[in-house]
């Protein structure tokens, strides 16, 4: 039998620096940098963030239709198979939100994978409590986006989840869990929980938690702090942008940290990559609300202390709010979408008349749409109204059409009218064979707040 390193509760010694690595920044993220971090990162913790705003709702919709869908990250096996051997060998603990809507099932699956690899006796925790679908309408009052009562969402409600903080993860680590699997937890909290546990931070110590959560925020988007979503040739160049490493935070007891990555990987950790990630998805930089603390980035100190090493300190913290954010997913109809192509001299003129043809056809077939968008991909499909009036005329253009409708039948009209452009369209119309799905369901996401004491959490433990 293989031996598994573990830190039993009684043996825990206070470390001065802990190494926390990123294993994923979203569901579709690459797996190989996670394996590399596990193998070469000398990590105490490997943390995975795999949920987007609509992940839970999409998972609920799928689980209703697909009895075989277990409800956790569809790449759970890929990710865990890639990292477990190295993590078990090193004694690296894993914190992950790959549980989605069924953390217990994910924990059982990981236990099975461990057993198959020969690792027995590994303690796995699953954290439940974030899913509050059944009671959300009683627990919440107002939709933040439009001020209407959340009760107005009743007929279309799919799922609701509260964003949990780091505390249940800390509790699981205190109980000796080697692997902690959660549902919805605020992204930075996944990375901060190991700091709170290892350094014994009080959950109400907003000074340390502000710093730690700020580091968690830098880590949560993986390669976006190590050179991903960054390179702009000639302006901002990084080496080998095809083999980025995921970030590693070397965190000190006061919560300050050096952000770095495994040597030999592509990309860079420099002041520019760290600054860009610092404000990513932040609104008021002095008041970044998380379940654990309110983070103030305006005092941050950044220092390049070595190649691909940036020291981050002096992030501020303010006491946490009495509420947790709730995401409410609702069915909101369908989107129909397709595209066709023009190229060569006069491509734009042909695209323009094709747009007119579609607009007239939608009247003839009485398309009932809440919104219709016909863009010229290559000219204005991405920036829309922000496209400069003097943008150069492209040699090739895709006419891309999308409509949002109440019913799937109406959405299907988009693809059917694009079909008509094949033999009844404009000269030189290029078209795809329509074998791909051209309609999709819209899951709208609304936000509300719930008093934190109304969201109890529970933790289940199993061993491999």
């Amino acid at each position: 039998m293989l031996t598994v390193k573990r830190n039993d509760v009684g043996e825990k010694k206070m470390k001065d620096v802990i190494r926390i690595g990123s294993g994923a920044a979203w569901w579709g993220d690459r797996v190989e940098p996670a394996a590399l971090n596990a193998e070469k990162g000398d990590l105490d913790y490997l943390c995975f963030e795999t949920m987007a705003e609509a992940t839970v709702s999409a998972a609920q919709v799928r689980s209703r239709r697909d009895q075989g869908f277990p409800g956790y990250d569809t790449y759970l096996d890929d990710r865990m198979k890639a990292v477990l051997p190295a993590c078990m060998k090193r004694g690296t603990k894993i914190v992950t939100n790959q549980g989605w809507i069924n953390p217990d099932a994910a924990a059982r699956r990981v236990a099975t994978l461990l057993k198959e690899m020969g690792y027995t006796g590994v303690k796995i925790a699953s954290v439940n409590g974030s899913l509050i679908t059944e009671h959300v309408l009683e627990m919440t009052d107002t939709i933040l986006e439009n001020g209407l009562p959340t009760a107005t969402l009743k007929s279309n409600l799919i799922s609701a989840e509260a964003y949990l903080g780091a505390e249940p993860i800390v509790e699981a680590l205190k109980a000796g869990a080697q692997i902690v699997i959660t549902g919805r937890v605020a992204d930075p909290s996944i990375f901060m929980a190991p700091m709170m546990y290892e350094f014994g931070w009080d959950p109400l110590d907003h000074v340390r938690l502000g710093q730690g959560n700020g580091i968690g925020h830098l880590m949560e988007c993986g390669a976006q702090v190590t050179g991903g979503y960054f390179m702009d040739p000639g302006f901002k160049d990084v080496p080998e942008p095809w083999k980025f490493g995921f970030p590693i935070a070397e965190v000190s007891r006061d919560g300050s940290a050096v952000i770095t990555k495994v040597a030999g990987t592509g990309g860079a950790v420099n002041l520019q990559t760290v600054k860009e990630q610092l404000l990513y998805e932040v609104h008021d930089p002095a008041n970044y609300l998380t379940p654990d603390v309110v983070v103030d980035f305006t005092t941050v100190k950044l220092e390049q202390v070595g190649p691909d090493r940036v020291r981050v300190s002096n992030i501020g913290g303010k006491p946490r709010t009495p509420t947790l954010k709730v995401s409410i997913g609702c069915t909101e109809g369908h989107i129909g979408e397709d595209m066709f192509f023009y190229a060569g001299p006069g491509a734009l003129r042909r695209a323009q008349i094709a747009k007119k043809v579609l607009e007239e056809r939608f009247k003839i077939v009485n398309l009932q749409a809440e919104d219709i968008r016909i863009d010229f991909l290559g000219l204005n499909a991405i920036h829309g109204a922000a496209t400069p009036a003097n943008a150069p005329e492209p040699y090739e253009i895709a006419v891309r059409v999308a409509a949002r409708t109440k019913t799937k039948e109406e959405a299907a009209k988009v693809g059917r009218e694009v079909d008509g452009m094949a033999v009844s369209g404009i000269a030189h119309t290029g078209k795809r064979v329509p074998h791909q799905e051209r309609t999709r369901e819209v899951i709208g996401v609304w936000s509300s707040l719930v008093p934190r004491e109304k969201v109890p959490t529970s933790i289940t433990y199993i061993e491999s």
Binding site: D232, H283, T298, I382, A386, V442
Partner: protein, 119 residues
């Protein structure tokens, strides 16, 4: 001299609901005051035209020479409702790189990628 913002600053956009935050970072501390003066929230909103339907709020983060523009109504109703191909607005930050800036001659040496400045 007039140059595009891409020589003065770099940018990144992020999404939350129907709000996009587009942050802009000076390539050099000496260029930051010019950004603050010339790239006001009003001009920013005007530059994006109807691509931003709501308000634009600018937050300055002086210690890292950055500004964060929080743009409501910039994501077509939100990621899942949006009819835009780039429904997260990940490419939205690139538009502001074309904003025209006036740079005094004595700061010309601080511009990024001077060989790519077009006439």
């Amino acid at each position: 001299m007039k140059v595009k913002l891409q020589h003065v600053a770099h940018a990144r956009s992020g999404d939350k609901g129907n709000t996009s935050n587009i942050s802009v970072f000076a390539f050099a501390p000496e260029l930051y005051p010019l950004l603050k003066e010339q790239l006001t929230a009003e001009r920013f909103k005007q530059f994006y035209g109807n691509a931003i339907t709501g308000t634009v709020t600018r937050y300055d983060v002086d210690n890292i020479h950055a500004m964060n523009f929080v743009c409501q109504g910039a994501l077509g109703g939100g990621v899942s409702r949006s009819l835009c191909l780039d429904n997260y607005g990940k490419a939205l930050s690139a538009a502001i790189l074309g904003f025209e800036m006036e740079i005094p001659d004595h700061l010309k040496g601080l511009l990024q990628a001077p060989h790519l400045i077009s006439a």
